[in-house]
């Protein structure tokens, strides 16, 4: 029983970082229907930038971390403005291919600038300390990640539902042309979306970095985040979070009780299964054009 509880808690713990990546991907997908494969590497650049100022320039945490979030917001906006918006007669597929190209460029940049040796991010909380819930252990960093993921989900949920910008984002996604006719500057909305999404991704990266950092570190979490988002329906924020926790828990249960060798791929098997049974994901509302 204790093992089972530990497995569930471990699954929730690991699901939190997937949730953050999933949220970041859902945001961009919601407004542009583009799956952003550069999401992980955008966070990677921000994390290495943070590492640089912390390790080599001696900035304190309270400057470096907010600085990283600002940097990531600007990076997201710049990428949308300077790269994606320049695509001529863009199709969804073309845009996705552009994000894959961006992913490679950003990873290449980090490998070139910082080298391939693994590093570790200085962080106020040790990734190796843990909190004990009776005989069940969870690392303090994972507790922090859990609360950050829930907080980000709540903030984004209310932001999209009640703020003007949030509603404009939804309108842009549902009907770009109509939104423009209603006076929404859809290009600008897209740019802001990329900025916000980049900040959420950066948060995930910052919470992954205290253990080890290397140029490949965000690829796995990005894929798991994507799988979570697909599971949740790609357009639903709570869906992405729920999907992430579900994947985290199933992965751990599978690793613990079935086969540890195939633990990492079980997430993708679940996605295939869900897509076969319920193609729009678990949480998405299926829009059907009536006319």
């Amino acid at each position: 029983m204790l093992d089972f509880l530990q497995t569930i808690v471990s699954g929730v713990a690991v699901g939190s970082s997937y949730a953050l990546m999933g949220l970041a991907m859902v945001l961009i997908y919601k407004t542009s229907e583009v799956v952003n494969f550069a999401q992980g590497e955008m966070a990677l650049v921000s994390c290495f930038f943070t590492y640089l100022v912390l390790e080599y320039h001696g900035f304190p945490f309270y400057v470096a971390f907010p600085g990283a979030l600002v940097f990531s917001a600007i990076l997201g906006c710049i990428l949308e403005f300077a790269v994606l918006r320049r695509a001529k007669e863009p199709t969804i597929l073309g845009m996705i291919i552009i994000t894959i190209g961006l992913e490679m460029i950003l990873m290449g940049f980090v490998s070139w600038k910082f080298g391939a040796d693994p590093k570790t991010m200085p962080f106020p909380i040790s990734p190796y300390d843990s909190v004990a819930l009776g005989e069940v252990f969870v690392s303090s960093l994972e507790v922090l990640t859990f609360f950050v993921a829930l907080a980000v989900m709540a903030i984004l949920f209310f932001f999209l539902r009640y703020s003007k910008l949030g509603v404009a984002m939804k309108a842009t996604q549902q009907n770009n042309m109509a939104a423009r006719l209603m006076g929404i500057r859809t290009n600008r909305i897209l740019m802001f979306t990329w900025g916000i999404s980049s900040v959420v991704g950066c948060l995930a990266g910052l919470l992954i970095s205290p253990m080890t950092m290397q140029p490949y570190m965000m690829w796995g979490p990005m894929l798991k985040g994507f799988a979570s988002a697909v599971l949740g329906g790609m357009t639903s924020l709570p869906g992405a979070v729920f999907g992430a926790y579900l994947i985290g828990i199933i992965e751990n249960l599978f690793g613990g009780y079935v086969s540890i060798e195939f633990k990492s791929v079980v997430a993708f098997a679940i996605v295939v299964l869900v897509l076969c049974i319920k193609p729009s994901g678990l949480f998405a509302r299926h829009y059907v054009k009536k006319v």
Partner: protein, 397 residues
């Protein structure tokens, strides 16, 4: 007219001789140059091991600055394969069939090496010092392949022997990378424990794509292991030890030479690597061994790129290439591949910056005739990533 005929005759003879000499000259060798090829990941997940190739490069530059070998300079052709066997194979073929290598040296990784071993052996091209301690290189032994890196299999045996006989531990487990590298460690550990009538209490496979190590730790914890061997990449090793600490599981961790670069491991594990015991195959970075110091001064300090670290894997690039250089030296002016093989087979009690190197004439029934270094020693990580030697050079049976 007679003179003209004579001239044509002499010219014809000269051309024929010239051509035949040309045809006799060994591929990759000229009067002034010897072309040596090497691959190593400079990008991708295994890039930290790419320093091996850069170490060899500095070593060759040092030799060239000192006049080369028997009047010939070593021309080093290094390429980045990203630890991707498909790229290794393409790169090796391109260099071999385009430029023409005399021999190959080092080359990081079991899987990349396995993708080209048949190609090199079929073409009878010498390959010295693969940068991986796999049993594949010597079992069965191959005429043109001379291994240097002590076997992972041997390292696992040594660590288990130490755990049982010195530390008096009986519950040994292993977390191993689910490929040839990890399985070599698993095999060595299982065989050594069987000698004491023991079995591995748990064997946990680790996939390269795994990032969450909690299920692995739970299995190890459940098995009540008091020693855990880590036959994984440095990043996975740190994740396992770190997750172990978070889940209050603290056995004696032991690891292979691939994780024995303690200053590096200590730093990126935020000090968690302290107390870990590892096998290693070369002099320690801070050793006052005169030869190691010479390499540091004349190869590393003169030719290493800015920011390059004097770490175990950097100078391992020298260690793996030393026997090849020795073999070429012994050939004298008459350098051919067959001669090199013969001279390499004659290397006995050669001491560079690793253990003693011995080869023997090819005997298909004796794999160790092609395993140069058979010794390792054990070290323990102290505060600040310093080394404590637990044993001297140790030949494990």
């Amino acid at each position: 007219m007679k003179m003209k005929g004579l001239f044509v005759g002499v010219l014809a003879v000269a051309l024929t001789l010239g051509l035949s000499f040309g045809a006799m000259a060994e591929e990759g060798v000229t009067d002034t140059e010897i072309h040596i090829g090497q691959w190593g990941p400079q990008t991708g997940p295994a890039a930290p091991w790419g320093s091996v190739a850069r170490g060899t490069d500095a070593y060759f530059k040092m030799i060239n600055a000192q006049g080369g070998i028997n009047g010939r300079k070593l021309i080093h052709h290094m390429f980045d394969d990203g630890y991707n066997p498909a790229k290794t194979k393409a790169g090796v073929k391109e260099l071999q069939e385009g430029t023409g290598m005399f021999a190959w040296v080092s080359g990081v990784g079991t899987a990349p090496g396995l993708s080209v071993v048949d190609y090199l052996m079929d073409k009878k091209i010498p390959w010295v010092g693969p940068s991986a301690g796999s049993l594949h290189w010597i079992d069965p032994p191959k005429k043109y392949l001379f291994a240097v890196y002590p076997l992972y299999y041997i390292e696992a045996k040594g660590l288990c022997e130490y755990a049982v006989e010195k530390l008096r531990k009986t519950r040994v487990a292993i977390a191993y990378q689910n490929d040839d590298y990890g399985k070599n460690g698993l095999q060595g550990a299982a065989e050594q424990l069987a000698k004491y009538g023991l079995e591995l209490v748990e064997q946990v496979p680790v996939e390269k794509s795994d990032t969450d190590m909690k299920p692995h730790i739970m299995k190890l914890k459940k098995a009540k292991a008091d020693v855990v061997l880590l036959w994984v990449t440095p990043i996975h090793a740190i994740r396992i030890v770190g997750t172990g600490k978070a889940m209050r599981f603290g056995p004696q961790w032991m690891s292979t030479s691939t994780c024995s670069d303690f200053p590096f491991m200590f730093k990126i594990s935020k000090g968690l690597w302290k107390g870990v015991i590892a096998a290693t195959f070369g002099e320690l970075p801070d050793s006052d061994d005169p030869l190691l110091q010479k390499y540091k001064k004349e190869a590393y300090e003169k030719y290493a790129a800015k920011g390059e670290r004097w770490g175990l894997f950097y100078y391992a690039g020298i260690l793996f290439a030393e026997p090849l250089v020795e073999g070429i030296k012994r050939c004298g002016k008459n350098l051919t591949r067959e001669r090199l093989v013969k001279e390499m087979e004659g290397i006995k009690n050669f001491k560079g910056i690793g253990g003693t190197i011995n080869y023997a004439p090819l005997d298909l029934a004796e794999p160790y005739c092609r395993q140069g270094q058979k010794e390792i020693f054990l070290v323990k990580c102290l505060d600040g990533g310093k080394y404590e030697k637990l044993t001297g050079w140790w030949k494990i049976k």
